[in-house]
Symmetry: C2
Subunit: 402 residues, 2 copies
């Protein structure tokens, strides 16, 4: 496979499997300037799939850094109204949304005041994105765009070819028919989700070094995987790769402490050694070797930010895990191992239609933020707890037990 | 001067001399993804100058190519409404505008159907830009961002250092105090403009190989140079470099034929050997070795597009000319030699306030397009004609005569 063929196949995966762009639909690609080569191929493939218009919103982390460092402090976290208004209109315009990830400069902000950096995300725009996703207004996907900075972060040298290979393995790009391979993989994940749904656990317990956390589930809620569907019925795969079965827990029920097992890149800072203590569902203590203040700022986003929105289970059979790499990119690292998110949950986890203003009461967390952190690995046992307290092993030594 | 110092000085020139960004003002930078390093430094310098917000609108010619090649034909030239609406609001928001030029792929579109390519510019957005400029709503400047593709176009190899040197010479960046050097240069251009205004020619005549063109001026109109002023009174320098004295001719008065002396990059095509014949002010014949159809499409933009909007006089003392280079970039090539534009004129040339709906009657052309083409050089004589037909030499052998 030539690099050009690989790029084309990768864009096909993003457009046809990931976002599942429909004929006549508009496509929005959000990415960084460093992602231009993938963005261009995604645009081309979107037109081939029948897109009406493709708009690429190029962002640039260096501009955010300039604003934090040299701009007026009162404006940090500002959302450009022209963009915000449009993103809000997606609830009726219903474009397909393809977000590219792969941070070219994961530690760009680390020399700046973390309290300012933590506020630098354009909050209103982030909230508008989440509303479109929670409202199932857009068929969306997140895929990575290999770039020199990211390769350097992963390998210590700008080895783009090696990064492309790792991304290729992780996304099953080398399979003879990647689209068919994804269908088959989806069935395996679906089987896992169905087993979990039959077992109908009351809670999930994580135990390992620095971790002893029990998170309560919503009665009747469902484990989901791979494929979402928009309100209008367009199926799509929000993450490529995706190796997880996940649900939204009851935001009111989490007790214990948890230590993250991977670094986490947030707001231009690589957060390491992250630890939380939770009480009554709420994160009440945050500690980290580097970057605790970034996370504290995120948790201060709104009242519900310090509550959990997602539990996701991934075992060591994940091809992402099998690369043996730490990608320092949430899309990849979260598909290498179990993870948890604080912030917004997924209404789909309820398995029934619930009006937006009743979701909180139903147990689904609502917030303008959603941050995943990794908690799995060889040393972390994951159990399902029945309402009588009996424990059923789900993962042991990174191997799926059910 | 290290490359970092050079970049910083260049950004200072763009922000402090070019756009003249005011404290508390918003700044919009329009550029291509290939211009990111200059855009970032311009953003930093804008914040240092007191900007409130800096928004960089990254564009990408490869996306336009994808739309022409693979998108629906009916949508070619589409303007994204979210962007168009905002640009229209600039008439009251009055941001500073910094446009970066320097085409990284001047012949990107040359393998596509020229009729489609000629329509691919987002017409409504271009018109909205011109309205902001003609209405003097924004303090604006155009500066170049050296990039690998442009260097390859100019030198046949990606010699970025040599391109930066040529750009540095052209923009007086090597002067001890570039801002003072620009002030002095401005005074020289101002003296030329005043001489022309005192002579109050009735017409300008160009004669050279393939050229014999006489263009009528508006009675009482003014020659201008370098510095513009917004309606609110912010002085700014729209082009860096700027070596021209210019005016808007009477769009109803042009007779003869003219051969362009430089290539012209338009819509991703390098137009060469361009020739026009004009009658009663109107371009009635177009010929070219390459790209005539691109120009014909531009001339079909609207009813007034085939009439002239600008005459600009530049002699061989221009440091841009003295580099000896063809930049294949209008900002540079038009400041190396005399040029003419078809399409929109400048109301400022009237030297008095005239309501927008009376400009056409006053002789100022109004159009959604403004395309400069180069007509000067050693072999082209430029004369001022009095109303009695007497000719006064202005330029001979590329040397200013007045």
């Amino acid at each position: 496979m030539t690099p050009a063929e690989r790029l084309r196949r990768y864009a096909e995966l993003a457009v046809r499997v990931g976002a599942n762009v429909q004929p006549g639909q508009d496509v929005v690609v959000t990415c960084l300037v460093e992602h231009a080569d993938v963005a261009r191929e995604v645009a081309r493939e979107s037109y081939r799939a029948g897109a009406q218009h493709v708009v690429v919103l190029y962002n640039d982390l260096h501009l955010r850094k300039a604003a934090v460092e040299l701009g007026p402090e009162s404006e940090i976290g500002w959302s450009a109204p022209y963009l915000l208004d449009w993103i809000k209109r997606w609830s009726t315009e219903n474009p397909a949304l393809i977000a590219l990830t792969g941070n070219p400069s994961p530690t760009l902000m680390s020399d700046l005041d973390p309290a300012l950096v933590g506020r630098s995300d354009p909050r209103d725009i982030r909230a508008a994105f989440l509303e479109n996703i929670q409202g199932r207004h857009v068929n969306w996907t997140i895929v990575a765009a290999p770039n020199v900075g990211w390769a350097t972060e992963v390998f210590g040298e700008p080895d783009m070819e090696r990064l492309w290979e790792a991304v290729g393995v992780s996304t099953r790009l080398g399979e003879k028919d990647p689209v068919a391979a994804w269908r088959e993989h989806n069935e395996m994940l679906q089987a896992r989700a169905e087993t979990l749904n039959e077992l109908a656990f009351d809670a999930i317990r994580y135990r390992g070094p620095g971790t002893n956390l029990t998170v309560g589930l919503i009665s009747g809620s469902k484990w989901r995987c791979a494929t979402f569907e928009t309100a209008a019925g367009i199926p799509h795969v929000p993450n490529l790769p995706t190796e997880e079965v996940f649900t939204s827990p009851d935001w009111r029920r989490a007790e214990g402490h948890v230590r993250s097992t991977y670094p986490l890149v947030a707001a231009g800072t690589k957060v390491t050694g992250l630890e939380f203590r939770l009480e009554g569902g709420k994160i009440v203590e945050v500690d980290a070797e580097i970057g605790a203040e970034i996370i504290r700022e995120q948790l201060a986003t709104d009242e519900q930010a310090p509550y959990l929105g997602e539990l996701a289970l991934v075992d060591g059979s994940s091809p992402v895990k099998q690369t043996g790499l730490v990608f320092s990119d949430t899309l990849f690292d979260e598909n290498a191992t179990c993870h948890i998110a604080f912030g917004a949950g997924f209404p789909e986890a309820l398995g029934r239609e619930v009006p937006a203003d009743e979701l909180l009461d139903a147990g689904i967390n609502m917030s303008a933020i959603h941050t995943d952190f990794m908690v799995g690995g060889e040393d972390v046992d994951v159990d399902g707890l029945g309402s009588d307290g009996t424990a059923t092993p789900i993962i042991r030594g990174d191997v799926w037990q059910l």
